[in-house]
Each structure stands twice: as structure tokens, then as C-alpha cells.
């Protein structure tokens, strides 16, 4: 059974329909990439999953439970971590405070301390910057912090909204390498990317979103090879 399953999800911003009948699933242990142009509904899909936007109709199930009536905090507690669009680190707080807030839903201090050690293991750069204000970090470091902060809730499913945005090619490589490690350590990943080539190289499967609907779904390698995807998103 799929860990996350969306079935015919519709979503609206006011009267504008942002998602039409979106159906997708993420199996335990996978990395799934959601690719598509600006405004295709990628971020909206993640926001619907994490409860920040109430879907109009359709069902969203996570580990067998219906998420539709859940508040965002209840969804985080059920095991979905979400590194938001544009990173949104707490700029005037220290790296440590950011990570601590990531563990907000967790009650046990000892567990959080262990998770923090794990996150710092994954992102050694953050350890060097623990006391520094998050706003003073470089873009890549902020992205690391955003991912690390989302990991602090110890999610079963980690959702990443454009982790490569605004980063140098070398940093993109680093970040994607780390995402692979996080996945290998047992966390399922749902990834949004405009950088389709990188995302599909890393992912198990992928979905192509076009104006709010799923246009294509396949294994990542087949999408990489597909003529239409190559023409539209890979620039070749």
C-alpha cells in the first residue's frame, strides 16, 4: 500500500482552480519527483498535502489515514515534514533555534537532542554555524537548514519544495547528494523541482504537472528518456 495517496484532488485559490483531479501516490522508501513549469500546481499540491490549503474535493490519505480534516500541526505530527518554498528559515533566530523549532511537535527533549545530532551529522556545515543567525547564512546553507529543520520533526515523508532554487550547480549537486542520503537512511521523499534533469536523476518515479493536472507519470528513467519531457523540461 502506498504511504501517501492523492485521489482526484481539486484545489482552489478563491475561484481559481489550481489543481484538477490530481491523483498520485508515493510508496514507502521512494523518492518521487514532481516536475512542471511555474504555476503548474506543484507547490499547491504540497500545500494541500500538509493541510495549509484545504482541497476542494478528492481524498488525501497518509499511512491509511484520511488527512482531509486534519489541521497542519496534526499532519506534521502524523509524520509529514515540509521544507517550504523559498526556504523560510527564521532569519533572526540562530541555526540552533531554527532546528529546535523544527522539533516543535516532539515532546521528548532527549529524542530531539538525538535528532539534532543526526541532522548535524548530515549537515556538518550547520554544526559550524549553530550560534549564527539563520539570515546570515548563504543560500545553500539556508537550504540545508530548511531541510534539517523539516527533518527535526522526524518525518516518515519529507516534502521538499524546490531545494535547488537559486543555488550554484555545485551546491545543487551537494544538496541532491544529501537528499539521496536522507532517503537511503529510511525517509521517503516527495520532491518538487524545476530542475527536472537533476530531480529525475535522483528520483525513483516522477509526475509531470501541467496547468493543475497530472500530464504524465512514469519511472524517473523513462521520464528522462521521454520525448515530450525532454522537449518541454530538459531543453534537449
Amino acid at each position: 500500500m502506498a504511504l501517501l495517496e492523492l485521489h482526484n484532488v481539486d484545489a482552489f485559490y478563491g475561484r481559481i482552480r489550481a489543481l484538477r483531479d490530481v491523483s498520485l501516490h508515493v510508496n514507502e522508501g521512494e523518492i518521487v519527483a514532481l516536475i512542471g513549469a511555474n504555476g503548474a500546481g506543484k507547490t499547491t499540491t504540497l500545500r494541500a498535502i500538509s493541510g495549509l490549503l484545504q482541497p476542494g474535493s478528492g481524498s488525501i490519505r497518509f499511512a491509511g489515514e484520511d488527512l482531509r480534516r486534519c489541521t497542519p500541526d496534526a499532519i506534521v505530527r502524523r509524520g509529514i515534514g515540509h521544507a517550504p518554498e523559498g526556504r523560510r528559515v527564521f532569519a533572526r533566530m540562530s541555526v540552533r533555534e531554527n532546528l529546535e523549532l523544527g522539533a516543535y511537535t516532539r515532546r521528548s527533549k532527549a529524542d530531539s537532542a538525538r535528532d539534532m545530532a543526526g541532522v548535524l551529522e548530515t549537515f556538518p556545515r550547520l554544526r559550524e554555524r549553530l550560534g549564527q543567525k539563520a539570515g546570515t547564512l548563504s543560500g545553500g546553507e539556508q537550504q540545508m537548514l530548511a531541510i534539517g529543520r523539516a527533518l527535526m520533526s522526524r518525518p516518515r515523508l519529507l516534502m521538499l519544495d524546490e531545494p535547488s532554487l537559486g543555488l550554484s550547480p555545485i551546491l545543487v549537486q551537494t544538496i541532491f547528494g544529501i537528499i539521496g542520503e536522507i532517503n537511503a537512511a529510511g525517509t521517503t521523499v516527495l520532491l518538487i523541482e524545476q530542475n527536472a534533469r537533476q530531480a529525475l536523476a535522483l528520483a525513483t518515479r516522477g509526475y509531470v504537472l501541467e496547468v493543475g493536472r497530472v500530464a504524465q507519470e512514469d519511472t524517473a528513467s523513462r521520464l528522462l528518456a521521454s520525448e515530450t519531457v525532454r522537449a518541454a523540461y530538459l531543453g534537449a
Binding site: P84, R88, M93, G102, Y104, G135
Partner: protein, 354 residues
């Protein structure tokens, strides 16, 4: 750190001792009276600080909760309805009533931010005293409710001296400080801080912004409910004109002057403004009058003075007299180009690491 703890405890003990003997050392009842009133405003400032300082929700109608607390006492502890609930119990009841209204005000404003929130709270601040004014059959309208029950302790009524009120307010402030500091460092306090910084990011972290904001409104209002009871009992009268917009602005000015978000700063700010308001300005007027300038009444210039203070503070010390470390960082980052600030910070820290 450990070595400093006894010093801190000693200082606190000394301060407590001084505050406790003031009414014995100073036989001028007017001074004690001034301190008791100033103390009520310290409580109000501590409460507003929870809403504005901790949670970052700009409330321009905070005096409404002060009114609700005061009127609660007047209604439940006077001849008005023949109800005589004891003062000590009313402290809790009024806190609960004010907290309830805090939630009622908070609920419709949850989606509002910044200036929009300020306007709605401003409206609430106007509605509440107006309601007390217009419900004349219950509240005597503009005349207000007088002859409130005198508090008593162990069967001894407080009488007309300000001294017992001084001690009550002092005790309430002590409790208020402990409560505020515990809240600030609690899980809820961290949620407030995260919401103040970035509400959307806070929600991504699994913080329930709705409950966090409503708790801030409720807890902040509870402080002013308590302050209202103490103030009303001491004054022996409540009337709608005591709770106007100017009172809300006065309390907010105390926060700005002292340092929003910092408990110690807020206390200093409220004491300074109370001193200016009830002591310095009347004294200055008296001096002017004896010197022959009979047309000079400085108390009429108090709002001009607040304005000058606020403008001056913004220019010279924008984070307040005793700023909270966090607020200072926020303001510094906001005042300079953030990118530049970030760059400088890394340079600075880099240089020091070497």
C-alpha cells in the same frame, strides 16, 4: 554563571525589602497612592507585552480589557446589583472574563496581520467603553458605578489608605512577572516567537497558529482583568471615560519606551511614564504656577510629550530602554540592508574566528 546566582538573589531580595518598607518609610500617602496606581499600569503593560511583545500582534484597544476587568468588579461587588463577591475571588473571575473576551476579540482577527489587526483592535477598544456608556440601566452610563465593595483581609477592610492596595498590587506584579517569564520560555512562548517571525514557516513546523494567537489574546487580557479589579477597588469608582483610546496608547507607549518583549524593560517603561504622567507634569505645572506662569498647565501637554518620547526613542534607541536581545537583532537587521547586514556579520565573525 553559578557564581552570579547568589548576587542576583541578593539584589532581588534587597529590591523586595525596599519595596516592602516603602509605605513605612514614606508617610506621604500620596506617594504610596501614586505607586499603587503605577503598579496597576505595570500589570497592564506586562499583559499587553504578551500580545504585542511576545506574539507580535499589534493591539491598539487593550484598554477594553482593563474596562472589562474593572466593570466586572463594579458589577459583582457593589450595591448596583446587590452582589458582593469577595475581592480576592473577583481577581480570578475578572481574569477569566477578560480572557474570554480576549478570545472573542481574537477569533475574528486570526487571519489579519499588522495594520489590519491594529484597526480591528482599535475598533474593539472603542466599542467596549461605548457599550458600558450606553447600557445605562445597568451601568449608570456616564456616571459610572460607585461605592464598590472594599476589599478586606482576615475580616479587616482595606479602608481609605493606599497602603494595602500597594501591597496587593506589589504581590500581583510579582506573580505577573513570574507568569510572564515562564510563558516566554515555555513551548507556547516559542510558538509565539516563531509566529512573530514568520507565521507561515511556523505553521510548517507544526505550530498551531490559531491556538497560539488565541492564547496570547486570552493571557494578555487576563492580566488586565486582574489590574482592572485592583484599580477599580482602589478608586472606588468605574466610569466609561477611564478606558479610552488614550489609555491603550499610554500602555503601548510604555512598551515601546521600555523595550517590547522584555519583561524588565516593560516594567521600567511603565514606571517611567507613570512617573512623568502623575508626578513630573503636575509638579512642573505647580512650579510654573508659583513662578507666575498661571496659564501653563503641563498636564495638558502629556500627549505631546508622549509623541516626543516616542519619536525620540525611535530615532535614538528604537528597541527601547532595556531591549530584548531578540528585538534588538530584529531592528538592526531591519534598519540596514539585510543582505549587507548578513555580509557584514559573516565578515565580522570570520575575522574573529581567525
Amino acid at each position: 554563571m553559578k557564581g552570579r546566582k547568589p548576587v542576583r538573589a541578593l539584589r532581588l531580595g534587597l529590591l523586595a525589602a525596599v519595596l516592602l518598607v516603602v509605605p513605612f518609610a514614606d508617610h506621604n500617602n500620596a506617594h504610596v497612592d501614586f505607586l499603587a496606581n503605577a503598579g496597576a499600569f505595570v500589570l497592564l503593560a506586562l499583559g499587553l507585552n504578551i500580545v504585542v511583545g511576545f506574539a507580535g500582534l499589534l493591539d491598539l484597544g487593550y484598554a477594553a480589557f482593563f474596562a472589562i476587568g474593572s466593570y466586572s468588579y463594579a458589577i459583582f461587588a457593589s450595591q448596583q446589583f446587590g452582589l458582593h463577591v469577595p475581592f480576592w475571588i473577583m481577581l480570578f473571575v475578572a481574569a477569566a472574563i477578560a480572557a474570554l473576551f480576549g478570545i472573542l476579540l481574537g477569533a475574528p482577527t486570526l487571519r489579519l496581520r499588522g495594520d489590519y489587526l491594529a484597526i480591528v483592535t482599535l475598533g474593539f477598544g472603542e466599542i467596549v467603553p461605548q457599550t458600558f456608556l450606553n447600557l445605562a440601566q445597568y451601568t449608570n452610563g456616564p456616571n459610572g458605578i460607585g461605592s464598590l465593595d472594599q476589599p478586606s483581609l482576615f475580616g479587616r477592610p482595606f479602608g481609605f489608605s493606599a497602603t494595602p492596595y500597594y501591597y496587593v498590587v506589589l504581590g500581583l506584579i510579582a506573580l505577573g512577572i513570574v507568569a510572564a517569564r515562564n510563558l516566554q520560555h515555555s513551548r507556547l512562548g516559542r510558538a509565539w516567537m516563531a509566529i512573530r517571525e514568520d507565521e507561515l514557516a511556523a505553521r510548517h513546523m507544526g505550530i498551531n497558529a490559531t491556538t497560539a494567537k488565541l492564547s496570547a489574546f486570552a493571557l494578555g487580557a487576563a492580566f488586565s482583568g486582574v489590574a482592572g479589579v485592583a484599580y477599580a477597588a482602589k478608586l472606588d469608582l468605574v466610569s466609561p471615560d477611564q478606558f479610552g483610546f488614550n489609555v491603550s496608547v499610554l500602555i503601548l507607549s510604555m512598551l515601546v519606551l521600555g523595550g517590547m518583549g522584555n519583561v524588565a524593560g516593560v516594567i521600567v517603561g511603565s514606571l517611567v511614564l507613570s512617573f512623568v504622567n502623575s508626578f513630573l507634569l503636575p509638579q512642573a505645572s505647580n512650579i510654573a504656577h508659583t513662578a507666575g506662569f498661571t496659564y501653563l498647565d503641563f498636564t495638558n501637554y502629556r500627549f505631546m510629550l508622549y509623541g516626543v518620547i516616542l519619536v525620540g526613542m525611535m530615532l535614538l534607541r528604537p528597541a527601547g530602554l532595556l531591549p530584548s536581545a531578540k528585538r534588538r537583532a530584529e531592528l538592526e537587521a531591519a534598519l540596514t540592508d539585510p543582505a549587507l547586514a548578513a555580509h557584514e556579520q559573516t565578515e565580522y565573525e570570520g575575522a574573529h574566528a581567525r
